[in-house]
């Protein structure tokens, strides 16, 4: 690569400023800079003011283009310095890998675990930590969320925050214990590793006061990683939801549907899976959120909590 005299560089920069004044708003131009001229794909040692352009017609095509679009033609004679016309477009890179968008507050590390915050297995996703439950036989404390949030082999590491929120090995809070997908319930529990304390609380809502069976017209509220705190009303229950699992068509049972209280309201977003819907008046948990729809109407699906707890053989330690 050649060297450049200071005077030459100064002249080039002045010419670049002039070029920008003339042509930076020309829609063909994607960049104007000072650099080495490029000839037949090779970088030369000749400094030039470079007009990077989207298109570069040549020969008779350039003549036709000039006739039809005289305002878009760049006249090199206006620039008192050698010029070059590399062809290049530079799209903005909004989220180049491995860049991650800043997570919302629920996606950060919580020193005290509770419901409503980001969690996942070690495989690169995030959902919601629904809440803390206790094994009915061993009294061990566990986190409860969806199978599709925690799923994997027994012993898989569970991160808080979830791995797509930046959770890594050192954020391990639990190890997958069991699931009940084979019983038509998208739920799993992971045994806490005692690395962090926990409290009975749903982030920005309230502690859970017990369990209740969902019923039509019940007003409910949830706290989730995706949409935060949302409210809704149950308009359908006793549902069955088709899903493929283990390569076979199966169904999720005991499903109820939640719709917004107001016409333009929102009930859920991706990332809410695993959150608990609580009866609004009593703060008893009615269901485990697992799916949603935003078109043509907003609605969320959850699995009745009494059946979830029974299948997993766990209870909610409401006094802890």
């Amino acid at each position: 690569m050649g060297t450049v005299q200071l005077e030459t560089l100064r002249a080039a920069c002045q010419a670049r400023d002039l070029a920008a004044a003339y042509y930076l708003l020309n829609p063909r131009v994607t960049l104007i800079d000072v650099g080495w001229r490029i000839q037949e794909g090779e970088i030369t040692e000749e400094l030039a003011v470079r007009f990077h352009v989207r298109d570069k017609p040549t020969g008779f095509q350039f003549e036709a283009f000039s006739e039809q679009n005289p305002d878009l033609v760049i006249d090199p004679d206006k620039i008192p310095f050698p010029v070059d016309f590399p062809q290049a477009v530079y799209p903005l890179h909004w989220y180049p890998y491995p860049y991650r968008a800043q997570p919302p507050p629920r996606g950060y590390v919580f020193e005290t675990l509770r419901g409503g915050i980001s969690i996942s297995n070690e495989y690169g996703t995030y959902g919601t930590l629904g809440g803390i439950v206790r094994d009915r036989d061993t009294d061990e404390d566990m986190v409860l969320s969806n199978w599709h949030v925690l799923g994997g082999e027994k012993g898989v590491r569970i991160y808080q925050p979830g791995s797509a929120d930046g959770g890594q090995f050192e954020h391990t809070i639990a190890f997958l214990e069991r699931h009940v997908m084979d019983r038509g319930i998208d739920a799993a529990v992971a045994k806490l590793s005692a690395t962090r304390p926990w409290i009975n609380d749903q982030f920005e809502v309230a502690p859970v006061s017990g369990v209740v069976a969902p019923s039509l017209n019940m007003r409910v509220v949830k706290s989730g990683r995706g949409s935060g705190v949302t409210k809704g009303v149950i308009d359908g229950f006793e549902g069955e939801y088709p899903i493929e699992y283990g390569g076979l068509p199966r169904k999720i049972k005991h499903v109820f549907r939640i719709v917004p209280v107001t016409k333009m309201g929102e009930v859920s977003r991706p990332g809410d899976s695993g959150s608990w819907w609580l009866e609004k008046d009593s703060n008893k948990t009615a269901g485990l959120h697992f799916a949603g729809s935003d078109y043509p109407e907003e609605a969320a699906l959850a699995i009745a909590m009494p059946q979830v707890l029974e299948a997993l053989n766990v209870r909610i330690p409401v006094t802890a």
């Binding site: 959902g127 969806n146 599709h148 998208d186 069976a213 019923s215 039509l216 017209n217 995706g226 308009d235 359908g236 229950f237 006793e238 549902g239 069955e240 939801y241 088709p242 068509p249 169904k251 499903v255 109820f256 549907r257 859920s268 977003r269 991706p270 990332g271 809410d272 899976s273 959120h289 697992f290 799916a291 949603g292 729809s293 078109y295 043509p296 109407e297 609605a299 969320a300 699906l301």
Partner: protein
């Protein structure tokens, strides 16, 4: 249908099971449940309980072979596609 354990609820569950056996494997069906009637009378929501077949896209009920009712319980179509979240 005021009591969840009443005979009418058991009847509704049996009808739902019948619908699920027929339709849950259909690729356009996203949920089958028991709920409020989505058909509004004069723009007002009703509290009438119906069987609801949720489908991923607008479909004629004839395309699904849906009956008007099962055991006296109306069968309605709801367009909704639910994704895991």
């Amino acid at each position: 249908m005021s009591q969840a354990n009443s005979e009418s609820w058991r009847q509704a569950r049996r009808a739902r099971d019948e619908l699920a056996d027929q339709l849950l494997d259909h690729p356009d069906v996203s949920l089958i449940d028991i709920g409020y009637d989505p058909d509004r009378k004069g723009g007002e929501a009703t509290e009438r309980i119906v069987l609801r077949v949720h489908v991923r896209r607008s479909l004629d009920r004839e395309a699904l072979g849906l009956p008007e009712e099962i055991d006296g319980i109306p069968v309605r179509v709801v367009v909704a596609d639910y994704r895991l979240e």
